[in-house]
Subunit: 275 residues, 2 copies
DNA sequence: AACGATATGAAAAAAAACTCCAAAACTGAA
DNA sequence: TTCAGTTTTGGAGTTTTTTTTCATATCGTT
């Protein structure tokens, strides 16, 4: 919560403008070196300008470069333990270790207040639609399933056309959850825009904080963007999304404890389908 | 080590010259306030001069005021950290920690040889069917998606009746993957039995090693069964299943590296669906 | 009191941080 | 394609902060 600087930086880096992205990469590559640099030096090393570094700091929510460096110093001071662990001897171990880092980062990225707000909206919704395509369809399905388990009807839409149609009929009581790892999937943004224009409350779940999807949402929940972006990062980013889903569901049962009763009731209903 | 700076400062404060001692006292009284002050402000507040503050920093072994502030920030951060650890962790933190344990356990449970065998079978299969119901449907869908990504066609069946029908038409080249967390779901076992009787190779994924499903399979892959069985355990056991799926897919690309080419090709195909 | 050594702060100099603005790059529409 | 409007960007200037310099004050010793 307090020490989410590096993680949120990585989540934001992807959708920054070129100059800002260069600054972000430079900082991420050598965070400790940044501490010893002046704004002029960092501008030079990253191939941008002082003004861009300044903008970078502001965008991250700091009052200026000084403020940013102070926060970074704090982060690095506590971060020393996270660096040692991990002797990745085989593929699966490596997968597990990156997944763990990603989960921890996501835990820090999750804004508790936003989870509470989102949960409230979901509980109060007359209709809940979950949309995700490709890999994100899995997350959407998981959310819909979990909500059904606590007696809150919702459906997952894995088809872009269906989702667009559904979004088109959204009303003010509708909550539309849109999931996209990159946050740049055209269909996802379209669904978000459309649902919002119809008066629905739109919750975005993504691994990128600065993305078209997030810009189009009423509320955004960000999962960690793992260091290894290609194949190796798919699993960590996926389970980080699922963590957010579970956080939402946990919060919903906390806000409305009688949902736990629903949970055991749904368990009863399916018990005759087991040995 | 933890309080190196503050401690040595307090120790040194006694026999400093008056002006420097005032600076030291001011810093010790409000270390966190110092972080937000400029050298001029600190000089003013401590009733000394900028030059004295400068000398103070140098005497402590720092190159200047900035350097001192950075070190102080780190020190205070570790303090905050220590306080955080003592405080009761919230729901999300607890979720993450149990998930981590579960992932590590699953990594231990995964029999590498079985993963290799299963991957071989999947690669050689003429048809791959993935079946999972309720929460396990998510895992099935994830597996089907990932296999499609590496150019190996497979489909997920989330409907028990459809799955039974599909299993009934299985042949010797068919690989049937059946997922059930408890391993006791009637429909899952039925699908496994039926597919096997038709000559299919049946791979079971479950969180229970001694279960009807596992007994009915040719090969079993076991994910960890977390201690907390109710709500708290659902998330860990789910992502442990996904870990197994990713382990399978990683092994498949290892055995058949040209699959990686397929991966980037599928990425290209969908790239025009992004901004 | 005179001397030398140390301590101190005012002010100048240097550096760093921050702001502003016009040029460049990019966007989408005609 | 051109063109208008927007966004992005870095240069140049301004302000603030840090650092150095140096003259003066202070103190202990003889």
């Amino acid at each position: 919560m307090t020490h989410a600087l590096i993680a949120s930086l990585r989540a934001a880096a992807g959708d920054m403008t070129p100059a800002l992205a260069r600054v972000a990469e430079t900082v991420l590559a050598q965070p400790d070196a940044t501490l010893r640099q002046s704004i002029t030096e960092l501008a030079e090393v990253s191939g941008s300008s002082e003004a861009s570094v300044m903008r970078f700091c502001r965008d991250q929510g700091f009052s200026g470069f000084q403020d940013f460096k102070l926060a970074l110093a704090k982060e690095l001071a506590t971060d020393e333990r996270a660096r040692d662990i991990g002797s990745p001897s085989d593929d699966i171990q490596r997968l597990v270790e990156t997944a763990i880092i990603s989960l921890r980062e996501t835990e820090q990225l999750i804004v508790r207040k936003d989870v509470a707000t989102a949960s409230r909206k979901l509980l109060d919704a007359s209709v809940v639609e979950c949309f995700g395509i490709a890999a994100s369809a899995v997350t959407a399905q998981y959310l819909a399933y979990k909500m059904t388990r606590i007696g809150k009807f919702s459906r997952a839409l894995g088809d872009a056309h269906l989702a667009v149609m559904a979004a088109g009929t959204a009303q003010s009581g509708t909550v539309q959850v849109v999931i996209s790892s990159s946050g740049s999937t055209i269909d996802a943004v379209r669904v978000a825009d459309l649902a919002r224009s119809k008066g629905a409350f739109v919750i975005g779940i993504s691994n990128r904080s600065k993305s078209p999807l997030i810009a189009a949402c009423d509320l955004a929940l960000i999962a960690s963007w793992p260091e290894t972006p290609l194949t190796g990062g798919a699993f960590p980013s996926k389970i980080s999304q699922l963590l957010i889903v579970d956080a939402l569901v946990a919060e919903m049962t906390r806000q409305d404890p009688k949902r736990l009763v629903e949970l055991s009731r749904t368990a009863e209903v399916v018990s005759d389908r087991s040995f």
